[in-house]
Amino acid sequence: MSCHVANEHTAARPTVLGLRAHPLRVALVGQPNVGKSVVFGRLTGRYATVSNYPGTTVAITSGRALIGAEVCSVIDTPGVNALDGAISEDERITRDVLAGAGSDVVVQVADARNLRRALMLTSQIARFGKPTVLALNMVDEAWARGIVVDAAALEAELGVPVIELVATEGRGLPELRAALVRAALPTVPAHTDPHQCAAWAHEVTGRVRRVSALSLARIPEALARATRRPLTGIPILVVVLYALYLFVGVFGAQTLVGLLQDGVFGRGINPAAVWLVDQAHPVPWVRDFFVGEYGLITMGVTYAIAIVLPVVATFFLMFGFLEDSGYIPRLAIFCDRIFRTMGLNGKAVLPMVLGLGCDTMATMTTRILGTPKERLIAILLLALGIPCSAQLATILGILGGVSFAALATLFSVVLGQMFLVGWLAARVLKGERSEFILELPPIRWPRLGNLLTKTRLRVWWYLGEAVPLFLVGTVMLFMLDRVGALAVISTAGRPIVTGLLGLPPATAQILVMGFLRRDYGAAGLFQLAHTGQLTGVQAVVALTVMTLFVPCIANFLMIVRERGLKTGLVILGIITPVAIFTGAGLNYVFRTFGVQF
């Protein structure tokens, strides 16, 4: 394969592309939330998760793109506000891409509205000595707000190609591909003093940008204002949460689950499977393996597809909508004060809300937080209290059928426990919290295409991730049951499960399986509740314990990967007793005061 770009431009510029022994590597670099992942998707045809808030990309994604006649490697990097000085972990990842041999050409993606900041970053990128192209993205939004950048004048100022893009619509992408061979070192001030760089960026911006007071984006601007003011923001939050409850808790967890569990599986698939297996006249244990009490089809597949999938899918759809609208970071304004007492700042609302999707992914997102102490507290709280979508599903499914008071009790106990543990952790752990400084993305109407792609990919990811574990879990349960170990576990767990927590003995095995995947355990509880084996009080106690538990093996492994085995074990050692004792306390209080749900 031809591995160099031959072009008269390159010959004229000694700093540019020479002979290489590998494909041309193009790094997409830029401030957070400027659309690097959209450009990446357009160039490579691969989808990298796109949302409307800073910090969606916290790791490197790479893909291949055909540029001219050459296959290039394109690298999507986490957004950076700065490349030197006090930088966060995700910013360091990007700096390493720039500093090392990992990239040959840099495409700086910039928000056309924020040229001044983009240029400050350009001056820092230039120091890595890589040929650069400047891509001004979202020029349509800039125009709508009365901002016009003279690309030709900017090109003359910087000496690098300046391309105007509307990446979501693919406008300007052919020009960007064509411009890669003209990539050059930008002409920026030689000094490294950040204040002088800022002054330079200010001057250049003044020369090439025109801002008029006329704005065509009145409606999004009014919405943006309404979401951050307390008088309108809090009612909006209530409406959003209620909509989430209606769509996920009622439509997903009740209507769709009902249809699938009782209809499709209860009357269709499961009887058919039983009939099919019986046709083969198998020995009893083979029959049980597939369609028995712990059967692969009657339990494993039913749990994964009928109980959890509908809720996960509806949740991801709604969640994607909120992500793309730019709403979530605005919650940080309201949360800042509360989070500060837990040694965090408002920015931590991002990983916390993301945890409702998947705690494992959210654990990675803690990289956007400023200090090691904050990251540790956030990881601890995620593992302790934030139920992931699949688990939220079963909580809503079980307690939605009990009463609203039961649901409110569960959430207030869990939130209270998180607050307490966070408050203690903030005092015990050494280190500082960082100051709350957060950029708010503009409010936008989500793009249906991105929303559907993102939801589809997440549902596939769920199916790929959870279904095998559900099946493995079922097989394990089946085998444990066969060798009589389930009975042993139930007996061994009896003092805690029936004594301390006041739950039926069968819950012991569910709690054990809950560690494999918290949602799998929760689905087991769902089954118990569905068949009337749990009282309201028992459901609240069991779900509280399950919610406070470490979410799943995957989350534990991610904690170990991010923070090391020792920290992982310490977190496990804190969470397990907290979960059990909270459940015990709750059970004691309920029984003492005769609470019923």
Binding site: A82, G85, P194, A199, R229, D336, G370, S434, I437
Partner: protein, 71 residues
Amino acid sequence: MAEGAHGVIVKIHAYDEGRAERLLSLGVTPGASVTVLQTFPGIVFLCDQTELAVERGVANAILVQPQETRP
């Protein structure tokens, strides 16, 4: 500064290295124009074209020369 006030940044008191650098990297530099959008429950201001939410301690460190409302 009150809500709706408008001005130009004169100076940023650096209480530590990190704060100054972070504000700088977000475009909060002397010479940049700012408009205060709200002060409760958190402080939100527009600096050039960037909407930023900060805690009070940070906002107090940004020294602004007030100007008449926008032309």
